[in-house]
């Protein structure tokens, strides 16, 4: 709806489509000047941090998974790593490898879903994957094959791709035998070519050419692309242990609402997700992936949020290669899970969810019951950056029709693949001031 009074105009995108969850954008202009801009989340709160209190820590991975049906593996991984720190558990190196493999599966399926079903229709003038399939069935089928391979990895370790059941504190409830991974290896080899074609496909989209001053944040490791561990790093110099999350970032209340925004302490918004990871860890994807990345002609690192879709496609290729590496080197662990004793204490961890760094902190009592839980999902952390990008977009929206403005806002937001269902710490309300 567009309302035109004397010189005021409100652009309201009432229901963002092709994002996971429910949100809206409201932009208020006066004399063409931006008065107010809000990304409003009307996803109902589900109170995970509240009802986790009093639950046994061992139940937590199955409960936090339910925050998000699209990235349950990342929720399980942040939870188990936080508890392993809390209980002083050292995991078997083979389990560590399996967990990389597990997260590769989720990156592949989640990224393939986003690229083909949520984002690509924007660039090709379609309203959904179904109409996209009428135009370019080959690309859609290719995307579905890639996505299916990612789901198959998750199911191999957890029985199903949504809310898989195999992950636990200390490892997995069951480790696959080598021969059980043989078919999966064949499947991954088949979709590797698809993934290369997908990178080429998305890099030829008509990506708006913008450059922004952005602080990119992701985990960083010395030798490998970050997934389940590493130090917090940023393009403006952060280098910290995950346990020191609160020293680096603050949750900040915007003056016009009572929402929580995350900012780098003393600075401003920051950017999480595939583009941040690629920018900060480019060489760690290995020569097979970086050569494909260079052939796109897009410079890496770069500060154009619209290249996120290409970064996402590069991570699909990386995750396929990494999954194949794990399969080829795989020796089952002596025991699928390390044993442990519960105790009181605090454990914190960050893992790289498909959409970016996912922070969990738990405190337990002597019996291993949760006293407090804190969960900071990537979309909540990206919220301030999304609004910053939308503000940059505003001058170009003034002369546009409602449909065009909506489309441009949605495109800018989809760079972050926001997962609004992850509603803990992520609720924003409008308070009109007259």
């Amino acid at each position: 709806m567009t309302s035109r009074r004397a010189k005021s105009r409100t652009i309201q995108v009432n229901y963002l489509t092709r994002v996971e969850g429910e949100a809206a954008v409201r932009i208020r202009l006066h004399d063409g000047e931006l008065v107010d801009l809000r990304l409003q989340i009307f996803e109902p709160p589900r109170f995970f941090e509240s009802f986790l209190r009093g639950r046994d820590g061992r139940e937590a991975p199955d409960l936090t998974a339910r925050i998000c049906g699209i990235c349950p593996v990342a929720y399980q991984m942040s939870t188990v790593h936080a508890f392993e720190r809390l209980y002083g558990i050292t995991i078997d190196p083979a389990v560590r490898e399996l967990r990389r493999f597990y997260l590769c599966g989720e990156w592949i399926e989640s990224h393939a879903l986003h690229i083909h079903m949520l984002a690509a229709p924007d660039f090709l003038g379609c309203d959904s994957i179904v109409t996209l399939a009428d135009k370019n069935r080959q690309a859609v089928e290719r995307g579905l094959r890639i996505k299916k391979a990612g789901n198959a990895i998750v199911a191999a370790l957890g029985g199903r791709s949504v809310h898989p059941v195999g992950a636990c504190i200390g490892g997995f409830t069951r480790a696959p035998r080598r021969e059980q991974l043989a078919d999966l290896r064949e499947q991954l080899l088949r979709v590797r070519d698809d993934a290369v074609e997908c990178v080429q496909w998305v890099s030829h989209f008509d990506l708006p050419a913008v450059t922004r001053d952005i602080e990119f944040v992701s985990l960083r490791n010395r030798d490998e692309y970050p997934m389940n561990e590493g130090r917090i790093g940023s393009s403006k110099g952060i280098d910290a242990e995950p346990g020191n999350f609160d020293d680096c970032f603050e949750e900040h209340q915007a003056p016009y609402s009572n929402a929580l925004h995350c900012k780098v302490k003393g600075r401003g918004p920051y950017f999480l997700g595939p583009l941040a990871r690629v920018n900060l860890n480019f060489a760690r994807m290995g020569p097979d992936v970086t050569s494909v990345a260079r052939e796109t002609g897009i410079p890496w690192p770069n500060s154009n949020p619209y290249t996120s879709i290409v970064a996402r496609a590069l991570e699909v290729l990386y995750a396929i290669d990494e999954a194949l590496r794990v399969i080829d080197a795989y020796q089952p662990p002596a025991a699928p899970a390390a044993s442990f004793e519960v105790r009181s204490g605090v454990g914190r961890a960050i893992t790289e969810a498909p959409r970016g760094s996912l922070y969990h902190a738990f405190e337990t009592d002597q019996r291993g019951l949760i006293r407090s839980a804190r969960i900071v999902p990537p979309t909540a952390q990206n919220q301030a950056q999304i609004e910053a990008d939308l503000r940059e977009l505003v001058p170009g929206l003034v002369q546009r029709s409602q449909a065009e403005a909506t489309h441009l806002c949605e495109m800018a937001i989809r760079n972050y693949d926001p997962c609004i269902s992850c509603s803990t710490h992520f609720l924003k309300l409008e308070i009109e001031r007259h």
Partner: protein
């Protein structure tokens, strides 16, 4: 004319509607057989009702949603509640035992602006539901079978027997008998394929109560395995904890009656 399909979301994780998109092999074929009139997660163009079949994901947790579900019912000829949130209130129904004011204060610094109900309730507590598909998440194959049945104007048939039946058919070793592991399989509806026992762990009840569950006997089974008090209560008060037979047994255990 192709049947008009709508997919609505209430308080949920999106995982059940994702199962439609996870039908990689069937998706394009299915899309040709129906008119996907309303599916905002996958399509930017939405069309108004009435709809022939509405799939509803999520539970009712806000005053707005309590009004919206009535509207959804009015414009839907056949309404299918999908997943634990829609059929049982979901994991967020744990608030139903808690002080919602305290919950709000714990998560949000300005709790007075959070619009929420003190309960999370299934769709059937608000409107007439034509079919419930259970599971957290719903099983993709069950979902597709339901859709195919409805498209051919047949009444869908879903199993209501327990996970134990599936577990035996799968040839799993019983985790209760062999390892003394607590397992909700005997009182849980089949549909997942007895996943947890196949992964060396006890069932935790994603698919909700089976029709033929015997809670008296199950409470004794837990006690015999040494699972009593709060530990026993928590096992039932989980993803489907607000469904009557489990809710009542868990409440009895919490009150020290079992």
């Amino acid at each position: 004319m192709k049947p008009r399909i709508a997919i609505f979301k209430f308080a949920s994780c999106d995982g059940c509607q994702l199962q439609f998109l996870n039908a990689e092999d069937e998706l394009l074929k299915l899309a040709g057989q129906v008119d996907l009139a309303y599916f905002p997660e996958a399509r930017s163009r939405a069309r108004e009702g009435p709809y022939d079949i509405a799939f509803v994901e999520g539970s009712i947790t806000t005053p707005d949603d309590a009004r919206r579900i009535i509207q959804v019912r009015e414009e839907s000829r056949y309404l299918v509640a999908i997943g634990a949130c829609a059929t049982a209130g979901g994991i967020q129904a744990l608030r139903n035992w808690a002080d919602i004011e305290e919950y709000r204060r714990l998560v949000y610094p300005s709790p007075e602006f959070i619009s929420t109900l003190s309960t999370s309730t299934p769709i059937a507590e608000h409107v007439r539901v034509d079919l419930e598909v259970w599971g957290c998440p719903v099983d993709k194959h069950q979902l597709l079978a339901v859709l195919r049945s409805l498209l051919s104007k047949a009444q869908p048939v879903l199993p209501a027997y327990s996970v134990c039946m599936e577990c035996k058919r799968r040839g799993n070793v019983c985790v209760v008998v062999a390892r003394g592991e607590p397992c909700l399989g005997p009182v849980t509806r089949a549909g997942c394929g007895a996943l947890c026992p196949a992964f060396n762990r006890g069932c935790y009840g994603c698919f909700g109560p089976a029709d033929d569950q015997n809670m008296e006997s199950f409470a004794r089974l837990l006690a015999n395995l040494g699972v009593t008090g709060d530990d026993a209560m928590r096992r039932l008060r989980g993803i489907n904890g607000y469904v009557r037979p489990w809710r009542e047994t868990a409440d009895d255990i919490a009150a020290g009656k079992k």
